[in-house]
């Protein structure tokens, strides 16, 4: 079944494919005249933030949706004309694969083999192959519901592969999966294309995964904004990426200065430095860029895929850019109470659910004005820790103090010092933007003149004016996130809790978001953020890495990466550091 590499016809050809959805009078162009091709025998990445149209495009290609316009040829077959013929030769794994949680791994495999009509004789060797490849061989008797997120994803993949397809569609297989499992999933995909000659189209919102693909289709807001070899994307940016650091100048102030500077299209905080991307390949001089910073050092670094995405977005639609945070939000009214500088103190915190320890003896403390990260994969216990800190879940053991209070028992007034932004959009979707603002301002006990002033501030600061009467459910993701932050900041809290704040949002909106968070931290607000997103960890002053309910390491991102620096790995990423820590912990347990 290995497809000859010289075969001229593409595995997938898209010709001006368009799909429109209508939701309550609104017309949403999910896929807008996308043309492109996927070559045989390799991994092609379909890359873009949430809401870019990736899933719709996948479903169109798998013949599960009909396009409103354009043509899709899968393995030379027109999907709209003969969906069944195409479906017989493809495999499709949706974002939430339909595993039967009450069946064992083996029973799930049997079921899908049955559904796909794999003859009984062929199953044995295929199972062995799949179980070996996914490393699930030891767990065939385990219920699918009892597997970890990464293992579930691998089982889903195995079930999709019981009948080897020629073309495999994987819709965000790595979302919410811990970095170790993510690497294992990629190893499987690489193996499929290399040894079995399969063609894979894989969608993802993690831009760093682009570099693992042979070719990349880059989507944004329904349109294809680029299609090329990932190396070629980044090649255009060679010599334009730099690290800037200064000894006596805080990284946040440095970032603030650099992000507005002319000739710089992107500035992000990365550990202790600020990473910039320039408009042209001419290396910037420290003296010209930062005349009043005496010891600024600028070091060239290799470009990342994300740089090219930002460059494409910024040059493509400059006018549509997000408004930068106009002014730093007003400083908190009063300095945080409680143990001196330490605003959040957690000692030996434990939370048990039955015999399962979701959080096991966790201790850390957060200083005033610090951005502190809880980093870990799904199920590492960071959300449970977070909920206990917010007072939403009583701890089983240990103590915690937020601004000197345990929010679970403290008087209502103590909660007024804290702002909270949940992982998914959790404002009232049926209410308009203005109604949400009004409600939360009242809920935070603002009244009269102050309430009016803060609502006006929120509308102004987050540019919500044009959408103030729109139903918040219908807002684009970026606006939803702004509204959520506006509601959380309504009462000028001393402490801000953020749960996975920017997962899935597009890189520009993420930059805008962190820009605000930096300004808040600068103004003295303490920020605690949970994330499984390694990029976000870079913005934190300090962070703890959690796995299986325990803290594996505490420190700033620089020192965590430093431990791993070696000849072979001169510039380890946060993810490298994370994976190394998890593996070390695994080895320790095995010993």
């Amino acid at each position: 079944m290995a497809a000859a590499p010289e075969e001229p016809s593409a595995a997938l050809r898209l010709d001006r494919v368009t799909r429109v959805f209508r939701a309550g009078g609104r017309r949403v162009v999910a896929v807008d005249e996308v043309s492109g091709r996927v070559e045989r025998g390799a991994v092609t990445g379909l890359i873009g933030p949430d809401g870019a149209g990736k899933t719709t495009l996948m479903r169109l290609c798998a013949g599960l949706l009909l396009p409103d316009g354009g043509r899709i040829a899968v393995l030379g077959i027109d999907v709209t004309q003969a969906p069944a013929a195409a479906q017989a030769r493809i495999g499709y794994m949706p974002q939430r694969f339909g595993l039967y949680e009450d069946l064992s791994v083996q029973e799930n495999l049997d079921l899908y083999a049955e559904l796909q009509g794999v003859p009984a004789a062929a199953r044995g060797p295929r199972y062995d192959q799949l179980l070996h490849m996914t490393g699930l061989g030891r767990f065939t008797g385990r219920l699918a519901g009892r597997l970890s997120g990464g293992m579930k994803q691998k089982l889903g993949l195995a079930c999709t592969l019981v009948r080897a397809p020629e073309l495999l569609f994987l819709d965000e297989p790595t979302v919410g999966v811990d970095p170790v499992s993510r690497r294992e999933l990629w190893a499987i995909v690489d193996h499929l294309t290399r040894s079995e000659g399969m063609t894979v189209l894989l969608s993802t919102s993690y831009l760093d995964e682009a570099e693992r693909c042979r070719a990349v289709l880059l989507m944004h807001e329904g349109r294809l904004i680029g299609a090329d070899d990932p190396a070629r994307f980044t090649a255009g940016l060679a010599g334009r990426s730099f690290h800037v650091a200064a000894r006596d100048f805080s990284k946040r102030r440095l970032h603030e200065r650099l992000s507005g500077a002319t000739g710089i299209i992107d500035a992000t905080i990365q550990g202790a430095q600020v990473r910039i991307v320039t408009e042209t390949a001419a290396p910037p001089s420290a003296a010209a860029l930062l005349p009043d910073v005496p010891d600024a050092r600028i070091v060239a670094v290799p470009p990342r895929f994300e740089d090219s995405f930002i460059a494409l977005l910024k040059t493509g639609r400059r006018a549509g850019g997000m408004p930068p945070a106009a002014s730093p939000p007003s400083a908190p009214a009063a300095p945080a109470a409680g143990g001196g500088d330490e605003v959040i103190v957690v000692r030996d915190l434990t939370r048990r659910f039955g015999s399962f320890r979701a959080v096991d003896n966790v201790s850390f403390s957060v200083r005033k004005g610090e951005i502190f990260g809880l980093l870990g994969a799904n199920g590492a216990g960071k959300s449970t820790t977070f909920r206990m800190l917010c007072g939403l879940l009583p701890p089983s053991d240990g103590s915690l103090r937020v601004a000197g209070f345990d929010l679970g028992h403290a008087a209502a007034a103590a909660r007024g010092r804290v702002g909270y932004m949940a992982q998914k959009f959790s404002l009232y979707g049926d209410l308009s933007v203005m109604q949400n603002l009004r409600f939360f301002s009242s809920a935070y006990r603002l009244k009269g003149e102050r309430r009016r002033r803060r609502i006006a501030w929120a509308v102004e600061e987050f540019a919500l004016g044009p959408v103030s009467s729109a139903t918040s459910r219908d807002l684009p993701l970026g606006y939803k996130q702004r509204l959520a932050l506006a509601c959380a900041l309504m009462h000028e809290p001393d402490i801000l809790f953020l749960d996975e704040p920017t997962s899935g949002v597009d890189p520009l909106a993420r930059r805008e978001f962190w820009h605000r968070i930096n300004a808040l931290a600068e103004a003295g607000v303490t920020i605690l953020v949970t994330t499984h997103f390694m990029e976000e960890a870079e913005y934190c002053d300090r962070l703890v890495i959690m796995a299986d309910g325990r803290i594996l390491a505490t420190g700033d991102s620089e020192s965590l990466k430093e431990r791993l620096r070696s000849k072979e790995r001169p510039d380890p990423t946060m993810e490298d550091a994370f994976v190394a820590l998890i593996e070390a912990a695994g080895a320790e347990r095995a010993a």
């Binding site: 879940l393 909660r415 959790s426 009242s442 809920a443």
Partner: protein, 369 residues
């Protein structure tokens, strides 16, 4: 504090009114149920199909048959000529009763001997059968009385004179329509309130609410008062429909009625909030609401008389707020009951309301999942 509660109330009402599905719950089911219960659900019988097997074929037997055919309750479908046809007609549910008049009917009458009339009733629905027998019996005794008067036979020693107080025509509409006030108010309040916390838990907004400086009591009031408001409006609309459309007499005062309504809706709201805070998803909340609703209606005297239930179950109905509110509505509507006479029904509702609201408030924060 009132500022926050008011904001929450406004938000709740906006959420209910802006959501198309919630709006439907408020308007659709009440309208349908009002029509179904008001018109279709009745204990009165009319146009019951019957067959007549008259072996006597005399002027007297025809007179008796005419009393049946002339009654609006019965509708003769067939006149039989052979006893063999009887079984078939009843088996196939063509008729619900066969009136069979003995061959010696006139002879026995004239001889002042008991004349034989046989009623063969379809007993598969025991309720209907009893009603049919009751109607038929009264027709036959009327006939006997008339015969005795005109032909001078022995008059029956005692004659039953029936007068129904409060509902002289024994119209079951008068009995059922006030009951609908209770049933519908409970259904709507329980659905709207029962889903409110669960919906917020699903959307994650309840956490958002819990981290604000709102206290349990604020959230309880903010969630409960809209229930009171919605339940009150719903009940008022149905009370109006009962009086103006179904012409059920409202003999008592509005004050005792609305005091009962207030306590009842408070109790139902408390139960709804309790169900809602125990449920993790809206689906669970919906199931919970029905789990409560079905027994509460069965054990409420709405259709099945509590007086016929085993004593233990009768005691159990004391904690059912609907049972007490039904007593209040029917009392006020038909008897013109006063505050004093309804006191034994007010305090159990107040007790249930207090207990359930307190528990709900406690569950808001304690519920761990």
């Amino acid at each position: 504090m009132w500022h926050q509660v008011l904001a929450l109330i406004v938000k709740e009402l906006l959420a209910v009114l802006k959501d198309r599905k919630s709006r439907m719950v408020l308007i659709g089911p009440p309208l349908i149920q009002l029509m179904v219960f008001g018109y279709a659900a009745t204990f009165d019988l009319d146009h019951v199909p019957i067959a007549v097997y008259d072996e006597d074929l005399s002027a007297e037997s025809r007179d008796l048959v005419a009393r049946f055919t002339g009654s609006p309750v019965f509708e003769p479908l067939a006149f039989l000529h052979s006893a063999r046809d009887i079984d078939g007609l009843i088996d196939q549910r063509k008729v619900a009763m066969v009136l069979s008049i003995d061959r010696r009917f006139t002879r026995d009458l004239l001889l002042h001997r008991p004349a034989r009339v046989q009623l063969i009733v379809d007993g598969r629905n025991s309720n209907t059968a009893l009603l049919i027998l009751g109607y038929a019996n009264s027709i036959i005794s009327d006939f006997s009385l008339g015969w005795a008067k005109s032909h001078g036979g022995p008059v029956p020693p005692a004659v039953l004179e029936i007068r129904a107080r409060y509902n002289p025509n024994l119209s079951s509409q008068w009995f059922i329509v006030p009951g609908i006030v209770a049933v519908l108010t409970q259904v709507v309040t329980l659905l709207v309130i029962g889903l409110s916390v669960a919906r917020e838990r699903e959307a994650g907004t309840f956490d958002q609410l819990l981290v604000t400086p709102m206290r349990q009591i604020d959230i309880l009031l903010g969630k409960g008062l809209p229930g009171l408001l919605i339940g009150g409006v719903e009940a008022s609309v149905i009370i109006l429909a009962a009086v103006l459309w179904f012409a059920v007499p409202l003999r008592g005062g509005l004050l005792p009625l609305y005091l009962g309504l207030f306590l009842f809706v408070a109790a139902v709201t408390g139960i709804g909030l309790m169900i809602s805070s125990l449920a993790v998803t809206q689906q669970q909340a919906l199931l919970g609401a029905f789990l409560f609703m079905v027994p509460s209606i069965t054990l409420s005297d709405f259709a099945t008389p509590i007086a016929n239930m085993p004593p233990l179950i009768q005691d159990l109905t004391q904690v059912n707020p609907m049972r007490h509110f039904l007593a209040v509505v029917r009392g006020v509507f038909l008897e013109g009951a006063t505050f004093q006479s309804l006191l034994p029904h007010y305090w159990p509702m107040a007790a249930v309301a207090a207990a359930s609201l307190f528990t709900a408030g406690w569950l808001f924060r304690r519920r761990v999942y």
